[in-house]
């Protein structure tokens, strides 16, 4: 909505007004080119209703091919044993935990956009929240694969849940790994609920436009009979706000609890109180990197420039800059405390991180996570879309290395030099991780094809035509 300076200043006498010279403040509109509601409906529904584009099929086939690497990796692992992964004494966690934390962290931006930015009344979130929430759900699915198969005998993975089993023993609730089971499964479930609930009005629009029978049934069943009634909207808006309020402490708790996996252990480099906030900031940082990586190509392919404007990209770059700086602060604070704490093991762990056996990983992490996002101070870089996309990839790479550095430097240099070792992944590790990108892409492509990419009602709500008071409120 564009502010009307005349409304707020009409009560002031004109001779005074000429002395004050109030600044004329015009908000940048969130939907450009004065588009109307019908255009938004046609644009978003059109993506789903058009004939499947050729590029979609090429991407889908490529994604299937990549995902088959995970399939092969897991098949080999299940038929042989977890020994086919590179984890071994002293590095018992290896890539499994690195990939798990990497994927789960990516999910956090989706919840941040849909929940925290909703509570903060950031209207620009409307055009990017649906795709980001989809990203959250799919990223958590990819994350789940790793701990699930790391348990060794995956067919007993249900023992993680407090269900009665033949051994008559229960999960041990003092373990952070058990807390993780609750945190991640709750996060996954609530993310799906939030994502689905937000989609109901849009599914109803697709249902009402559907021509083919299968579409009528598919969207009809999913839309639950939604009928755009004010009574529906009233309960829906309240439920949406409440879910946003519930997801906010949830998203902050998930990466906090993931960081407990490390922080609760009495190991140098892990046993620090800075871990929870530092992990949450890192998660949001990596998540926004992934949001940009996904949305910038979509914006170009589907011509969404009026909906995902330069302002949206600029805001996301700012969040990456802010969280990247927080992560950089955490890295330096860890070093400071290691020195200030005067514990020789802690001190060694950090010197070893930067200059020890995994020095290269550490410096990849620093350059991608700390140095790269600082480029976003410059407007010319934020406005250069291909460059923003490249930096977003660097952010993703850097955040993967962060988890690698944390997990592996500490474990590979134990308290006793006799148990020191060097971890390298096996080809099975590499296959399994590589394939998850295909798995993620398959899910995301299906989302693009069958579900509304943007919340139409929410996008319309931030347009001037949505104001029932004609701009005088």
């Amino acid at each position: 909505m564009s502010a009307k300076p005349s409304d707020s200043t009409s009560a002031i006498p004109s001779e005074l007004l000429s002395k004050i010279k109030p600044a004329k403040w015009e908000d940048t509109p969130l939907v450009l080119n004065k588009r109307n509601f019908h255009w938004v409906t046609e644009k978003i529904c059109g993506i789903v209703e058009q004939k499947t584009p050729t590029w979609w099929w090429w991407c889908f086939i490529t994604a299937m091919a990549i995902a088959s690497f995970t399939g092969l990796g897991l098949l080999y692992l299940v038929s042989t044993g977890v020994g086919v992964w590179g984890n071994n004494n002293p590095v018992n966690w290896g890539w499994a935990i690195v990939n798990f934390v990497f994927w789960i962290g990516i999910g956090h931006a989706g919840t941040l956009i849909s929940a925290i930015l909703c509570l903060l009344k950031q209207k620009w979130r409307t055009s990017i929240n649906r795709a980001s929430e989809a990203m959250t759900v799919f990223a958590v699915m990819c994350a789940g694969i790793f701990p699930l198969f790391h348990v060794g005998r995956v067919w007993f993975a249900w023992w993680l849940f407090p269900l009665p089993n033949a051994n008559a023993i229960w999960p041990q609730f003092r373990s952070p790994l058990e807390w993780d089971v609750f945190a991640v499964s709750t996060y996954f479930t609530v993310s799906i609920l939030f994502w689905y609930m937000g989609m109901i009005p849009d599914l109803a629009v697709l249902r009402d436009r559907a021509k083919e029978t299968w579409r009528k049934y598919f969207y009809g069943v999913l839309a639950m009979g939604w009928r755009n009634a004010n009574n529906h909207w009233r309960n829906f808006e309240m439920a949406y706000l409440l879910l946003a309020g519930l997801s906010t402490p949830l998203v902050l708790s998930v990466h906090t609890i993931v960081s407990f996996d490390f922080a609760v252990a009495n190991l140098p480099g892990w046993h620090t109180t800075i871990f929870p906030p530092y992990f949450v900031a890192g998660a949001i940082f990596s998540g926004f990197g992934m949001v940009l990586t996904l949305l910038l190509p979509l914006r170009a392919i589907f011509g969404l420039h009026d909906l995902i404007t330069e302002k949206h990209i600029d805001n996301m770059c700012k969040i990456i800059l802010a969280t990247g700086s927080m992560v950089g602060y955490a890295y330096s604070m860890e070093f400071f405390i290691a020195w200030y704490g005067a514990n020789s093991y802690e001190g060694f762990a950090f010197i070893n991180r930067a200059f020890g056996n995994y020095w290269w990983a550490y410096w990849i992490m620093i350059s991608c996570n700390v140095i790269c996002p600082q480029l976003f101070w410059f407007k010319s870089i934020k406005n250069n879309i291909p460059l923003v996309w490249i930096i977003s990839i660097f952010v993703n790479v850097g955040m993967w290395f962060e988890r690698f550095v944390i997990a592996n430097t500490t474990l590979s240099r134990d308290f006793l030099p006799s148990s020191w070792g060097y971890y390298s992944p096996t080809v099975v590790d590499i296959f399994t991780f590589f394939g998850t990108f295909g798995f993620f892409s398959i899910l995301f492509l299906l989302f693009l094809r069958f579900l509304p990419l943007m919340p139409m009602a929410e996008v319309k709500s931030v347009m001037p035509a949505a104001d029932p008071h004609g701009g005088k409120h």
């Binding site: 999960p171 755009n228 009634a229 004010n230």
Partner: protein, 180 residues
């Protein structure tokens, strides 16, 4: 066979609907509804409907989740199969904090979603308003007010004239088909 459900009038903008809704309320109609492509700001007060009851379901879910979390930890680690781990107590409200924190959120979220469905009487895949020839446009860019036959003040001609007078366009009688 079909029976009359109500009279529908369409509006082209949120402002038109908003003003008309106020007039419908003032006229004393009780059984009526607005259909809008977006949640219109301030329409609840304009229609004279109160605050949504969804938070009650959220609270109920949250309390259930909290108690469930506490109960399973106590039952499993302190009562049914007491385990000594790391010299920690069998049960304490501190160490399983993440467990009941997450379960509180989980159950509250389910309470919210199902509360919303319950209060909206969904799923309901068939409704007389779907019979309106351009109902689909209310999800796009049109606004609609429907006054039901159920309303004590409803009268075929008077209501029709009234809807016209508040600025409603293409006034249509919605008929509900009945399978005999």
């Amino acid at each position: 066979m079909d029976i009359k459900y109500g009279l529908a009038a369409t509006f082209n903008s949120a402002k038109e609907l908003f003003d008309a809704a106020g007039l419908v309320r003032e006229e004393g109609y009780k059984e009526w509804e607005c259909y809008t492509p977006i949640p219109v700001h301030g329409l609840d007060a304009q229609m004279g409907v109160g605050r949504s009851k969804v938070p009650c379901f959220t609270l109920l879910g949250g309390i259930t989740g909290f108690c469930t979390g506490m109960l399973i930890v106590w039952f499993m680690n302190a009562y049914d199969y007491p385990l000594i781990v790391g010299g920690k107590p069998y049960f304490s409200p501190i160490y399983p904090f993440p467990v009941f924190y997450e379960l509180t959120i989980l159950f509250a979220a389910f309470g919210t979603l199902f509360g919303m469905f319950f209060l909206n009487r969904l799923p309901r895949h068939n409704h007389p308003v779907f019979e309106h020839p351009s109902f689909g446009r209310t999800g796009d860019d049109k606004y609609m007010i429907v006054i039901e036959v159920e309303d004590p003040k409803f009268d075929d001609d008077e209501t029709k004239d009234f809807l016209k007078s508040v600025g409603g366009k293409s006034i249509t009688l919605i008929r509900e088909p009945i399978n005999s």
